[in-house]
Subunit: 197 residues, 2 copies
Amino acid sequence: MTQGVRARQRAATRQALVREARRLFAERGYAAVGLPEIVGAAGVTKGALYHHFEGKAELFRAVLEEVQREIGDRVAAAAGRRAEGWDQLLAGCREFLVAATAPGVQRIMLVDGPAVLGWHAWRALDEAHSARHLADALGALVAGGVIVEQPVEPLTRLLSGAMNEAALWLANGKEGAAPLEETWGVLARLLESLRAR
Amino acid sequence: MTQGVRARQRAATRQALVREARRLFAERGYAAVGLPEIVGAAGVTKGALYHHFEGKAELFRAVLEEVQREIGDRVAAAAGRRAEGWDQLLAGCREFLVAATAPGVQRIMLVDGPAVLGWHAWRALDEAHSARHLADALGALVAGGVIVEQPVEPLTRLLSGAMNEAALWLANGKEGAAPLEETWGVLARLLESLRAR
DNA sequence: ACCTTTCGCGTACCGTCGGTATGTGAACTC
DNA sequence: GAGTTCACATACCGACGGTACGCGAAAGGT
């Protein structure tokens, strides 16, 4: 299982490219960062980049997948710490708000993502990671009668969009945790209204 | 008040540029459309474009403002046809869903908008047109005790984001009006839950 | 141990893009 | 009707994303 020099170097180069690209994309946005700057920061040349990725958009895709995986894992972990389905939904949503507000996330995941990859492809990535947990949780709660009967897919999109926009608003607005708690309060009230009575 | 040949030609050129740019941006996205193609379709040259706009991004801004104004007007008109505040909110939200689902709108307004102009600038435009109506309506309803007391700004962002994402989902998904009605049903239930009891 | 192949990456080059500087002729001004 | 303005067109520029090709070291076979 010990990998050779080749494979190790290959992995290191790819990591460096993704890491530096993520940093630069998060700082200044996809369009404002050129390939020369990325490969320079990673200490390689464009030849290396095009050996690992099909182009700039594919590199961005790799960056986005990394970000999405991080967020998705955090949401799943937060939900996993709760026993009941309803508590898992609340904890997951709250953790998403907190995680997606962290610096170096929203611009890649919520602004450039859909524009660079197209909404379809972005949606597929979002679905595969963070949004999937939301859909699963909502589906289970509706099936279990905890949430009042209604189509799950539109509900998932509505809530996902609400939280995405909230994350952008929180991250780009005034500093401080007060707006976060305020927003969470409003969101929690919305979620609470879904419960069957 | 009759304008001279100069002013008339100027207005016509600007209109042609915005019209063709809107068509192309809606079809293929901001990044995939070059200035040569836009000015060619408009029957002018880059000299004309840079005489009217500071650059490609400014041209896009003009396009986005036109789209936003259309949507905002439609929402305001739909709301204006109702007498009571609550009915105005419902009619406005429903009209937004319908209007924003029309072809040639979402990509410019919801996908490329934030990426090209930055989220701050996009937010300002959104606020000045469609989102403003939502904030006003919610504020009035909260002040009037129709909606349960809660911070209006976060609520506005959450609902705005929910409807934006829903519009994207509807426009990029399967055809037909069934999903629209389904989505509206879920959204209407969410809105209903805001009412004070 | 040597030869061959693979492959990870560097170098050099290309078309096109957004942007700018400058020219020009027709419409306005007085 | 001479001078000025202005709405463009023309010509050109650096930089960008992308491609073709070369090279040297690691991997694999005998």
